[in-house]
Subunit: 436 residues, 2 copies
């Protein structure tokens, strides 16, 4: 089957990030789609320093990409509306599928764009427009499709969440943190879109539409920013068991659908309250499923590219095999990998060890000697006074956290420790896993 | 277009739960699919007390359902393997699509079942087999399809997580909590599958296959349970800044793919460490997206039915409009709802109010009088000594948390409070949102 050709309009951070993901994961992507996916045309005024797109055709006019008969899928990654909207409409008119990360365009002009796409029977995919790499559009639109959605509430602006997190954790003032966010590149020179909630309102508009089956109605979204939140408010909220988060909330009641973005107090024990820094998360409550939460990076070149490329794969699968579903095991038949499964002695892990030592002089020295001989580094050690029944029998728990080591080596060390005269029981060993 | 007919095999909690979700959300589901989805045949030995399926045809032989020419999609919700596997293979042989929640069947016999389905060009969907209502199969298989997955780690057995949570929060012993879990119906009379990690290993096998593009290899999964975890271990882990969770972990290294289920120490600040009780969550790390997390109910009739019905909608969309994609706004063209957007004064919310009072006798009495007159109930109140600059000017912050009230009423109360002589500034008002 002939390859599926991608045309990229806009080669900024997200555009080039998407190019790189397509290039780096080319093999896995082809195994998923069953056809090669190739970038064939890029529209950009110039390559930035460090950008290398090999021998892909480049046009300085982005409209040359959407008018290129060889292009199957157009990526609109320029942002803004003035050029992006006519470009997308032209791509649709030319019968091309579109993938976009443009939240303001979708929130404000989506109804018109989707109607045009529907009339031409092409797809306009926009997973990257909300919450970066989190597949939240797919989760709501397909994963929770059996539910009548009751409400959703999300941290959908990373800049705002970064500011509130810093204000709370470091007792800093709003203006001070905003300056840092701008220096770090999280916030624009004009931070209005982020801190006044406009960006979050764009995203909430989109989420509410697909959750409740209503048209996009950005102009009806209530929007309140975080610039008036003080250190004091964060402090008092803490004292009362709450955190202040800038949430987009949409809820169905007998009065209609609520669409609101504002600073909000939420229970400090909820997962959403513990989403910090620039991370995003959306909680969605459905009548059948109850509350679910989706968490991840809400911005950045690679996370946004993750969503763009997922959309490309959806569209490419539809083009290459419209009558068949997503492959049952994610990759096309015959393209499963025969990569081996690692045996447990081959894994590397850090360990928690609880050793029950008889309270004899020198036992601890013997234990550390054995670990040292096996080149196992100790991260932390706790030796407790014996308690309860242990006290009478003079049994002392020794807790050791180790650094990463081959499990086979740990097995050897444990076997030797268990042979020591001063060790009373089998060693309790629990593996440690670092999540980041 | 003619309706799509569903045949349900097995009318236990999940089977009847799925029947109810299809019935209750019939209208929204039809708007999503563009065609009616109807339960036309149920295979069950008998209806249980309280079950009412209207005039749907019932057969005591489940094979009558898969051999019914009118049935388009078979739901296999019996569990077990002995009957379920031949039933599913028969459904496939008859050219029917299958939706199943059967994790052990998929983990152990999935390769054979998917090969048969592929040969007959039918779908076998199994979202409900892992983590109940969380759309984790869809997230990995489609939402993160652009990534080369690096690792995943999940709390994918609710019973085990309930036991570990209770042991930690209430300092109870394993055996004691297990008995309670059995009494609550979370754990089976024979708890081996849950507490020894076999159930989690079934699910991990499935997640690893779709994440890494490898065949299902349940027999190669390392499985270690939680029955040997003591109160002491949980206590020492806490002291060191960790929580013990029963995780399924799969990771790609230069040595191959790791497949392991065991108790694990993870950083107490991670979101996964704060997933408690019977809830499930899976963290997935991709090369582009970084770490993402998916959280929700991992079991129960309605959450599992949520996943079953999402699969039905996927299959039904494929049957009814194979050449077109999921509708851009989730619901089919022309079926968007014109339900109104609520105006802000109409919403109901609880509120945090910070009122800057001049330190005059009687101000607080006036404030509570106004709230009382507006029928606004007070949940909590803090009056602080003035600090810093406030001390000199005798300004006292008064913090009030209210119960739920109409925003219009709150607006009236705030306007009145701001007019009081003893109130120095505009009232700071932040809305509270209850996430559960």
């Amino acid at each position: 089957m002939k390859p599926i050709n991608i045309g990229i309009c806009g080669l900024g951070t997200v555009g080039y990030g998407s190019f790189l993901v397509l290039k780096n994961n080319w093999q896995e992507i082809s195994r998923r789609v069953g056809t090669e996916v190739v970038v064939s045309h890029i529209g950009t005024r110039r390559l930035r320093p460090g950008q290398d797109v090999g021998n892909v055709k480049i046009s300085s006019d982005v409209f040359a990409v959407v008018n290129d008969p060889a292009v199957d899928i157009v990526l609109e990654l320029m942002g803004g509306i003035d050029v992006a909207k006519p470009l997308v409409l032209q791509a649709i008119a030319n019968g091309k599928h579109v993938v976009t990360a443009n939240k303001s365009m979708i929130a404000v002009h989506g109804n018109e764009i989707f109607a045009a796409a529907s009339a031409k029977n092409v797809m306009v995919a926009y997973e990257a427009s909300v919450a970066g790499g989190i597949p939240i559009i797919k989760a709501i639109r397909e994963g929770l499709a059996g539910n009548s959605i009751q409400w959703l509430a999300g941290i959908i602006n990373g800049t705002g969440n970064f500011i509130l997190t810093e204000m709370r954790e470091k007792s800093r003032a709003f203006a001070d943190v905003l300056k840092e966010a701008q220096a770090l590149g999280y916030a624009e020179a004009d931070p209005t879109f982020d801190v006044e909630g406009i960006d979050a309102a764009h995203k909430l508009t989109i989420l509410a539409a697909i959750a409740f089956g209503i048209p996009l109605q950005f102009e009806k979204t209530y929007t309140e920013g975080i610039s008036h939140i003080t250190q004091e408010d964060i402090h008092y909220a803490d004292e009362l068991g709450y955190r202040i988060k800038h949430l987009g909330i949409s809820r169905k009641t007998s009065n209609g659908i609520e669409l609101r973005v504002h600073p909000t107090l939420i229970d400090e024990n909820s997962l959403l309250a513990n989403v910090n820094g620039v991370m995003n998360a959306v909680m969605v409550n459905g009548d059948a499923v109850g509350s679910t939460l989706y968490y991840g990076a809400g911005a950045g070149a690679a996370p946004t590219a993750s969503a763009v490329v997922a959309d490309i794969i959806d569209v490419a699968r539809m083009i290459s095999s419209p009558q068949s579903s997503v492959p049952a095991l994610a990759f096309q038949d015959g393209s499963l990998s025969d990569i081996r499964i690692t045996e447990m002695p081959e894994i590397k892990s850090a360990y928690y060890l609880r050793i029950t030592a008889l309270d004899k002089v020198g036992v601890l020295a013997h234990i550390t000697q054995i670990l040292g001989d096996c080149a196992i580094n100790i991260e932390a050690i706790i030796q407790k006074e014996p308690r309860g029944a242990d006290a009478a029998s003079q049994r002392v728990p020794v807790i050791i956290l180790t650094r990463e080591i081959l499990e086979a080596t740990m097995n050897t060390a444990i076997a030797q420790i268990e042979k020591l005269d001063g060790v009373a029981e089998k060693v309790m060993r629990i593996r440690i896993f670092k999540l980041e």
